[in-house]
């Protein structure tokens, strides 16, 4: 799995951090940062939830 985010459209809701704290973080302005671009399978479910609930739909997942 590859995690791709569009920082320009991020609204800093923090939902991704709550869903998958090992994979997503926020910078000082709250904008999304990806900690693990290719997360391990153990994180897949949380990452998919983060992508699904992101209010600005800025998380895109490339899944094999």
């Amino acid at each position: 799995m590859k995690v791709i985010v569009d920082k320009d459209r991020c609204i800093a809701s923090g939902q991704c951090v709550l869903a998958a704290a090992e994979v997503f973080d926020q910078d000082d302005d709250g904008i999304v940062e990806v900690l693990l671009e290719n997360p391990a399978a153990a994180h897949y479910e949380d990452v998919r939830q983060a992508a699904a609930i992101c209010p600005a739909a800025v998380i895109r997942l490339e899944e094999p």
Binding site: R9, I11, A12, S13, G14, Q15, V17, L18, A19, Q26, D28, D29, G30, I31, Q49, A52, I53, P55, A56, A57
Partner: protein, 406 residues
């Protein structure tokens, strides 16, 4: 034409007698039978009512739909809110690119980790208010003794606003969210808040502290990116949004749990923070204190649910029934279930306008639900359920008072 409009159901609709936690039954019927339908508003204008969870998310994430009330066709909530929007404009009533520029001036204050760092102070505030309530007379009104002061103290400290003025802005907040406020009363409340915050902004320019408002004044206002008036408008928005919403979630959530004693006992006894966090999401989904619908206007023709919403048509997205959509929340969505996976609810909205303060609201509610019932294990209503007055008359739902004893 007039007779056709008068035949349309008026919105907001009434909840069923004896079912104060459930959305109006007419919303459920429409969700099942006509998910995108017409309604009549207070000013006899018409709008589309969208009741399905997925349709609501699709529209709230669509840039062809606007939150700007200056567009013709925007479905205003009340005469008061229409009048007020004309004198006060913040990013919640703006579209992009303007919206993101202003919202991003504040997002740094609500970063999840930064809000987590506030948790010990929130815990202290909660504990002190419980101490005071327990030391005082029985019965007590949980709203006045606890539910309102918790978020009010927290937001005042965070913003850098003196809590000693709370009676002043709690009174004006009520005027802003009352469905019955006249245009004159809503404009006057906004004017008084403006005057107060303009003075505070000027004071902070000379004597800065370390609140959100202080940082705005020392940063964006000093740089010329924001006017003093815009800073004052932002402060009013954060103050009103910061205490009315969380306060109602605390009191109404407590009442809902008192009506579901097995789940209340589980929350009281658990040491599992994840269960408390899950219960917060479920209570947000179940209670829907923002029960007046998200308001938007279409900028272009939009196809949704087999219907075409025309450019210029008003759209009302009823998140209360969206959060009870069984396609999104399988099982019985009308049942409170603190174990339900409910984090995808739309209680904070969806799209670029989703609640800015949601990490703070979550932290406050987690501390409150995780503390109050543990510290006051015999907490119970002091009046029969039928006597509790629900806020049918307010834009934000809840209970006016919650007499409790222990």
């Amino acid at each position: 034409m007039t007779s056709q409009i008068s035949e349309l159901s008026s919105f907001p609709m009434e909840r069923a007698h004896g079912c104060p936690f459930d959305p109006p039954p007419e919303l459920r019927r429409r969700q099942q039978e006509e998910p995108v339908s017409r309604i009549r508003l207070w000013d006899d204008s018409t709008a589309w009512l969208v009741t399905g969870y997925e349709d609501q998310r699709a529209l709230l994430g669509d840039s062809r739909i606007s939150a700007d009330p200056r567009h013709d066709g925007y479905p205003h909530q009340t005469p008061g809110s229409r009048a007020r929007r004309a004198v006060s404009r913040t990013f919640i009533s703006m579209d992009n690119p303007e919206h993101d520029v202003l919202r991003r001036m504040l997002t740094g204050n609500f970063v999840v980790k930064r809000v987590e760092a506030l948790r010990p102070r929130i815990q202290q505030i909660v504990d002190e208010l419980i101490d005071e309530m327990l030391a005082g007379p029985k019965p007590a009104d949980l709203v006045r003794a606890f539910a309102l002061p918790v978020p009010s103290l927290v937001i005042c400290e965070l913003l850098g606003v003196p809590y000693s003025d709370h009676a002043f802005f709690q009174r004006l907040s009520r005027a802003l969210i009352s469905r019955d406020s006249t245009p004159e009363a809503a404009v006057e409340a906004t004017r008084e808040l403006h005057e107060y915050f303009m003075k505070l902004v000027r004071d902070k320019r000379n004597d800065p502290g370390d609140g959100v408002l202080d940082r705005l004044v020392a940063g964006q206002v000093a740089d010329g990116a924001l006017t003093m008036r815009q800073a004052a408008d932002m402060a009013i928005l954060l103050l009103v949004a910061g205490h009315e919403t969380t306060a109602n979630m605390i009191a109404l959530g407590t009442l809902a749990l008192l009506r579901n004693p097995a789940q209340l006992a589980e929350i009281r006894q658990t040491g599992d923070k994840a269960l408390i966090a899950n219960a917060v999401e479920e209570l947000l989904r179940y209670l829907n204190i923002t029960h007046s619908g998200r308001r938007r206007v279409a900028l272009e023709d939009i196809e949704i649910g087999g219907t075409t919403i025309k450019a210029g048509d008003g759209v009302v997205l009823a998140n209360d029934i969206g959060n009870r959509d069984e396609r999104a929340f399988p099982g019985n969505p009308d049942e409170l279930d603190i174990h339900r996976k409910a984090r995808h609810h739309v209680a904070f909205g969806y799209g670029i306008h989703q609640c800015l303060g949601q990490p703070l609201a979550r932290a406050e509610l987690q501390v409150v639900y995780g503390t109050l019932y543990r510290r006051v294990p015999t907490l119970r209503p002091a009046v029969p359920f039928e006597e509790i007055r629900f806020k049918h008359d307010m834009l934000v739902y809840g209970v006016h008072e919650l007499p409790v004893t222990w």
